[in-house]
């Protein structure tokens, strides 16, 4: 176990270095940069732009900028946002709550509904329900989320006036109910795709288990169908889902760019987009490292969790 962990940690460090180098240089390849937005300001002179470049350290050779950034990161300093003036970690922190709220609730919906649809599809294979679920999943996977979002806003906000057209809460209210109300549409829209994915995986996993010998044995013993399903089938079918969950963990925290934009949700996805369009290099790099670390740890946690749950698997 210890060797396994050491091995993985070495891999992680190498991977992070590669990701950061590629990210940093690609980011700096984009012409323009953080000061381009001021070029049209009346009265802003080229001398002012040059002075700011110097002050922000942007006129140093690229490798010096990278090493400087990396060295600070190693010491725990994620840098300071150009756009905002605050530290990168606090910028990320301020957007993390919104994303956690949205992604968390949409994941709960997706897992609950998706698992149910998947299991039912498997136990009632080739039934009308199964066919409808299959087609619905294909539709949900094929249609982009912004379409669902815009149609949802049109129907439920502009026509019916039932739900707010966007935002995380109404300024000045901010009660729990207000948050929930604003959460309904974006989390459902976002969940649609995840329900589709989750139900397909769940259906396959359940089908894998359902015809195994131990299920037949249980049935022969006279265990009730309900107990067989809950204890023997679902329990075992959930194993591959742990891996899937581990792979989805990063998206839980890095946000959903499209949905956040359509519903003006102040989350991580939009922060990423804004930071790129402003050329806010420190924040973009911070987000990149943050998501890279999440992807790596998501997988690591899934591996360990599977090993703990399933005694057949040994980490080595």
């Amino acid at each position: 176990m210890l060797r396994f962990l050491l091995n993985r940690i070495t891999q992680i460090i190498v991977l992070l270095v590669i990701v950061s180098v590629i990210g940093f240089f690609i980011l700096n390849l984009i012409p323009g940069g953080p000061l381009a937005q001021y070029a049209l300001d009346p009265g802003m002179t080229q001398a002012d732009i040059e002075r700011l470049k110097e002050q922000l350290g942007l006129n140093r050779p690229l490798y010096v900028q990278y090493l400087d950034w990396a060295w600070r990161l190693v010491q725990g300093d994620w840098g300071q946002s150009f756009r905002d003036g605050t530290s990168v970690l606090s910028v990320i922190g301020r957007h993390l709550f919104a994303t956690l709220l949205l992604m968390g609730s949409s994941t709960v919906i997706a897992v609950a509904v998706g698992s149910w649809v998947g299991i039912r599809g498997a136990t009632h294979r080739y039934s009308t329900f199964d066919h409808v679920a299959t087609i619905a999943a294909m539709v949900a996977l094929s249609i982009p989320t912004f379409w669902f979002g815009l149609v949802g806003i049109y129907i439920f906000s502009l026509q019916l006036g039932w739900l707010p057209a966007g935002n995380m809460y109404t300024v000045g209210d901010e009660s729990v109910g207000d948050y929930l109300l604003h959460l309904i549409m974006p989390s459902v829209v976002l969940a649609l795709v995840h329900i589709a994915i989750w139900s397909r995986y769940m259906r396959t996993a359940t089908l894998d288990v359902i015809n195994q010998d131990f299920v037949k044995t249980a049935r022969a013993k006279g265990v009730s169908e309900r107990r067989i399903l809950m204890k023997h089938v679902v329990g075992n079918a959930l194993l591959p889902m742990i891996t899937l969950a581990g792979m989805q963990l990063p998206s839980l925290l890095t946000g959903a760019l499209v949905t956040e934009t359509v519903f003006t949700w102040p989350g991580m996805g939009r922060l990423f987009l804004d930071s790129i369009s402003y050329g806010d290099y420190p924040v973009v790099m911070g987000l990149l490292m943050f998501s890279a670390i999440l992807v790596i740890f998501g997988n690591l946690i899934a591996d360990i969790a599977v090993a703990i749950v399933d005694p057949r698997i040994r980490l080595s």
Partner: protein, 591 residues
């Protein structure tokens, strides 16, 4: 949607929320709304049951810079105007008015010496910072010195770098010397917000001062709270020295997508559409919205077909004249921009005192365009594109990608230019690329750009049209057309040292004549911003001489609000360009 429907809709939402919480109506109800009528606070532009008058301004970019001296963008200005005050302000008519200063320094009152080198500013004695400390001349000195601190990431420094020997004579008076006379400095001061010296006293690095995230100003609103990526709340400053504020709460809401911004305006989520305002193609629909005031307001930026004169295709005046004659501006304004913008012949905004109204008017005439090119010796080649001395009349045109109106203009011009034998290729770029070196180092052939030539309302355009301002040729400035005319240079130099307004006006009239003749840029139109707001908001007044719709939020009040100017309800004052709200600086709120 009108306010009443919004309210009904909201009640329905409340019920839904209640159902979402517990599935039971009455029990869950208390969980949902604040018992003291907080439930109504969300329908905006309203005087609520608990007496909170608030306005929500929707912005398509996020304000993020709250130290007014640091490098910041246009969208930050609305917030800064509400938190801080400059020494002098530019009113909607382009005239400088005293603000923190008790009088506008001038030759007449001795505030500026005859040679323009000695300045003296007298300050108000009744101004306090939001933390209660008195505002004094020390704060002004500190501010002007901080801007030129080499380690400070200041915004533009032009003018400020000329200031020397700032002396505090008394708490309400200070003097300084200018390195050279610089008439536009007064305009620069209208956008120079004064910061409190005492908040920086214990800060090692002003770039990272705590002040930058929790600013203290003298303005009509105080810093409230910020939810990054979402919105910003400012609360009324009851001790404001000027008129107002009448609102309790001013909220700036960030909505990144302009379609969503407009949708939320329609659905009542925001009360006032700030930058980038309402798109002209939504104007026809927007003006018919009940309960909303939607009006196009002259802005100071001018949209032009901007040429790089260093390119051999554009060196010859005849080519520029021909392209201008082939520019059907009526069609562009009428059909593509829904009649919203204003046709113009100059870079100088028409609301300016310095606008020359007597410039020749260009008419669309492709016949004439062809004749000009024929006469100048540009002959059509085998593919129909004209040539002269081996130079093809072919060029690229670039603008910010994603601006669909401009893209239509480009496609239209591509056709009409083709008809006179000029080939235009469209090569658009994302904003960060477009306005980087590509723009500042003049690497383009031609661009379509909306530029504000003035600073504040000062007519000095040295930065844009003087030959010393060509960055690509080692200069420092934004003359990216690489335009050179020695007479314009001389006129600009003279005008920048001239403090007499009538005299200056003559000089800038002449500059406009020459530029109209030389055509380094082909004016397409002067922008109008389509402002939209709830009809409940009164006291709103546009000011094209500032960069923001929220320059004067201190005067805003609600038709049904608790606080009204003069303490009366339904006053006759309304917001319109024709009748500006008088500045009652000495009058205290509800006086």
């Amino acid at each position: 949607m009108s306010e009443s429907t919004t309210r009904r809709g909201f009640d329905r939402r409340k019920i839904l929320a209640a159902l979402a919480v517990g599935g039971g109506g009455v029990i869950a109800w208390n969980l949902v709304g604040r018992p003291d009528g907080g439930s109504q606070a969300s329908t905006t532009a309203m005087s609520t049951a608990d007496g909170v008058d608030s306005v929500v301004v929707g912005l398509s970019q996020e304000p993020t810079v709250f130290n007014p001296l640091m490098v910041h963008g246009e969208v930050d200005d609305g917030v800064l105007f509400s938190l801080f005050d400059p020494l002098v302000r530019m009113d909607p008519d382009g005239l400088v008015q005293p603000h923190l200063a008790a009088e506008v320094p001038s030759l007449e009152n001795g505030g500026i010496s005859e040679d323009g080198l000695r300045w003296r500013v007298r300050l108000r004695d009744d101004v306090r910072w939001h933390d209660g400390r008195p505002f004094t001349a020390d704060d002004v000195k500190f501010t002007l010195e901080l801007i030129t601190d080499p380690d400070f990431r200041a915004w533009r420094t032009s003018g400020h770098t000329l200031v020397r020997d700032i002396e505090v004579v008394s708490p309400t008076e200070l003097t300084w010397r200018m390195e050279e006379p610089f008439a536009p400095y007064l305009s620069f001061l209208t956008e120079t917000f004064i910061v409190p010296r005492h908040t920086f006293e214990n800060e090692a690095d002003p770039n990272n001062a705590a002040f930058n995230q929790a600013p203290i100003g003298t303005g009509p609103f105080k810093w409230g709270a910020r939810m990054a990526g979402d919105h910003l709340e400012l609360v009324a400053n009851p001790d404001y020295f000027g008129e107002g504020p009448y609102l309790d709460l001013l909220i700036f809401k960030y909505i990144p997508d302009i379609t969503v911004l407009y949708t939320q305006f329609k659905s009542g989520g925001i009360d006032l559409v700030g930058q980038v305002y309402i798109s002209p193609d939504n104007y026809d629909e927007a003006r018919k919205l009940p309960g909303m005031v939607v009006e196009p307001v002259l802005a100071s930026s001018v949209e032009s077909f901007y040429l790089n004169l260093a390119r051999p295709q554009f060196r010859e005046l005849a080519v520029r004249q021909a392209l201008y004659a082939a520019l059907d501006r009526e069609a562009i304004i009428g059909s593509l921009y829904h009649g919203v913008p204003q046709i113009t012949e100059t870079f100088m905004p028409q609301q300016s005192f310095y606008h020359n109204p007597d410039l020749p008017v260009q008419e669309y005439n492709p016949e004439k365009a062809r004749a000009i090119l024929d006469a100048a010796g540009w002959r059509p080649g085998s593919d129909g594109i004209r040539e002269k001395n081996g130079v093809r009349l072919a060029f690229e045109n670039s603008t910010t990608s994603g601006d669909h109106l401009r893209e239509m203009v480009q496609q239209y011009l591509q056709q009409t230019f083709r008809e006179i034998g000029a080939e235009m290729t469209i090569a658009n770029l994302p904003p960060a690329v477009m306005w980087g070196d590509f723009w500042t180092q003049s690497r383009f052939d031609s661009v379509i750009v909306g530029s504000t030539y003035l600073i504040g309302a000062d007519p000095d355009v040295t930065n844009r049209l003087h030959s010393k301002s060509i960055t690509a040729q080692g200069g420092s400035g934004s003359n990216n057309a690489q335009y050179k005319n020695s007479e314009v240079d001389a006129l600009l130099d003279k005008a920048a040292r001239t403090f007499d307004v009538e005299e200056r006006r003559k000089l800038y009239f002449r500059v406009q004549e020459i530029v109209r003749h030389d055509l380094p840029l082909l004016p397409i139109f002067q922008y109008k911003n389509v402002f939209g707001r709830s009809a409940d908001i009164k006291g709103f007044e546009p000011n094209s001489n500032t960069r923001t719709e929220s320059w004067n939020a201190a005067s805003w009040y609600l038709a049904n609000g608790d606080k009204q100017p003069g303490g009366e309800r339904d006053p006759v004052r309304t917001s319109s360009r024709a009748g500006p709200v008088p500045r009652l600086l000495s009058q205290k709120k509800e006086g």
